[in-house]
């Protein structure tokens, strides 16, 4: 591993109370509203990520699951600073990068790389494979042309592509091969952390397994960590050490993979697991199936974000927003039902 090691058990990535809001109100003219004889210009703010905290140790895989639109991709993009975070803190190796500008980010980019969702959009169609996969390396270390060629060939081999592909263009590859090229690119600077944003969801199921196994093999070989974003429970179960469940931009439950799957606490996690089809088992009881729609991220509900769809909601859920509290065994839940202070809810 490159770089100086800080304290052994300091987390590689730590995110504290991260918030990401986007103003989608457009220009003043678009915002103007006329109602009841009064003119107003309300802003429309999307609350994509709301006070998410997480940490990843070296060599650990943290899976983030949630429905489409729950803010998990935004979370990933904010952590690599593709978005400017609205509030909260992001620490890499104990270094606070929340407000790092472009030049300050340069050394950090060597520690943190990203794998993208769409293997078709994530490779520049006008670049050769050698230039695509060596771009992060070229930017951070430079290196001579023969040096880069040698590294590119080694990377292609690592991701299971033949060396004859070096001077080809992306359109000459299949989706799975393209994703391997994207993985090679993220490996070129030998990062400590790879943020994988739905890396297999655009691929055929038969290819998914190959890519997942490749990701696991590479992790075992290089010892880096993953922040693994996905909506697919079977994928997250296969690959993660720990899991975080997101709903409407909130982290509602975290814990070790085994615990989350065997003893989910949050009603949303339970519904999510029950909704996943499994061979040989019938669908969960009807009470675990969710009705209703995910509320708008522009007008967040008061209190618990999940209460409108929660079969177990009670009065307090509408009043007060639950926070993530540890419930033992490394598991944490943001639900009033599981707060130690009120183990016995009213009614």
């Amino acid at each position: 591993m490159n770089g100086v090691k800080t304290a052994e058990n300091a987390p590689l990535l730590e995110v504290r109370d991260l918030e990401q809001r986007f103003d989608v109100s457009g220009s003043l003219i678009d915002r103007l509203r006329f109602s009841g004889g009064r003119v107003s210009a309300p802003r429309r703010i999307v609350h994509a990520v709301n006070g998410v905290s997480l940490s990843i140790r070296r060599g650990e895989v943290l899976g983030i699951v949630g429905e489409s639109g729950c803010g998990k991709s935004t979370l990933a993009k904010t952590i690599v600073k593709l978005n400017e975070p609205t509030a909260g803190q992001i620490l890499i190796d104990g270094e606070d990068i929340t407000h790092h500008d472009f030049t300050q980010m340069r050394p950090v980019r060597r520690k943190m790389q990203m794998i993208f969702q769409d293997p078709y959009a994530s490779l520049n169609p006008r670049q050769k494979v050698r230039d695509i996969i060596m771009e992060p390396y070229l930017e951070s270390q430079g290196g001579s042309v023969p040096d880069r060629t040698e590294r590119a060939l080694a990377l292609l081999e690592k991701v299971g592509l033949g060396t004859e592909h070096l001077d080809r263009y992306p359109h000459q590859f299949s989706g799975g091969q393209r994703q391997r090229i994207g993985i090679a690119r993220s490996l070129s600077v030998q990062p400590d952390l790879i943020i994988a944003d739905e890396p297999v969801s655009a691929l055929d199921v038969s290819i998914q397994a190959q890519i997942l196994n490749l990701l696991m093999d590479l992790k075992d070989e290089f010892g880096f960590s993953y922040l693994f974003i996905t909506h697919d429970l079977s994928v997250v179960r296969h690959i993660s050490d720990r899991i975080g469940v997101m709903y409407l931009g909130f982290m509602v439950e975290t814990g070790p993979t085994g615990t989350i799957f065997s003893a989910p606490k949050h009603p949303y996690t339970r519904a999510l697991l029950a909704a996943a089809p499994q061979l040989g088992t019938k669908l969960g009881p009807a009470t675990e199936q969710l009705g209703g729609e995910v509320p708008s991220a522009i007008d967040l509900p008061r209190g618990c974000p999940f209460r409108q769809r929660c079969p177990l909601a009670f009065a307090r859920c509408a009043e007060e927003r639950p926070v993530l509290v540890p419930v033992g065994g490394g598991q944490s839940v943001a639900c009033h039902l599981h707060e130690p202070a009120i183990a016995e809810p009213a009614a």
Partner: protein
Amino acid sequence: MASSRPVISATLRPSRLRRFFASEFFHNYKRNLSAVLGSLIVFLFLAMVTAGPFIVSQNPYDVAQLDLMAAFKPPVWLEGGSSEFWLGTDGQGRDVLASIVYGSRISLVIGLVAMGGACLLGTTLGLIAGFYGGRLDAFIMRIADIQLSFPSVLTALFLMSAFGTGLDKVLIALISVGWVVYARTVRGSTLRETQKEYVQAARVSGLPNRRIILRHVLPNVLTPLIVVATIQVGTFVLIEASLSFLGVGVPVTQPSLGLLIKNGFDVLFSGLWWVSIFPGLFIMLLVFGINLLGDFLRDELNPRLK
């Protein structure tokens, strides 16, 4: 590791030219009569303006070579025509054909240089507007909108009357009329491209904005410009001709095709039609050829029309 380097054999790989002749593009070109005709016209014009001056008997702007006695001779096939002047002569005894050869050179050079300048300016502004967005974008595109709301000849006329005439002024006028098309096209493609994940990947790799624009966005927004640029050479030749005809174009010492028309226009109705009709026909032919070529390129390079 070094042993795993691939052996790319130069002999096994077909040459660039060979690959071009085998391409779908060339295949479609061969079967498209108007494309072949258009490129033939353009090619002949290019040949004429490069080799022509060495072939024609007379340099029409070298006063020593002119003979006033030979003024207003009709084309060779009419009565009184001379085999020395195939398309006749003008009031100063200039060979019309020789004037056309020299005039086409000026017209084409103006068209090409102005297209290059407009393309450079418009592409740069379009990239900046599309990539950075916000107020800069609004500012650039509003200027473009204002520019578009004036007829291009009027804008050029206004600029020429403000800055005076001359070859450089004509170029400035044409560029300031022509950059808008590029800016709009490039801005649109840039907006689309910057949404794609490969641009985000470049950001994560730590590329500065300038290099993202040059290395990633620019190569992906250029294709539609080839069509715009081709057609624009024709448009510029026409605008320049209009300006010269109106008397605010190129100086009389560097006459373009448009100026030739103007020179012959005064005597057009006294039966001496050849002095301005022939330059006019050549402009028409040139623009026609360019447009045929442009139409073919548009059909070929636009994936949605395929």
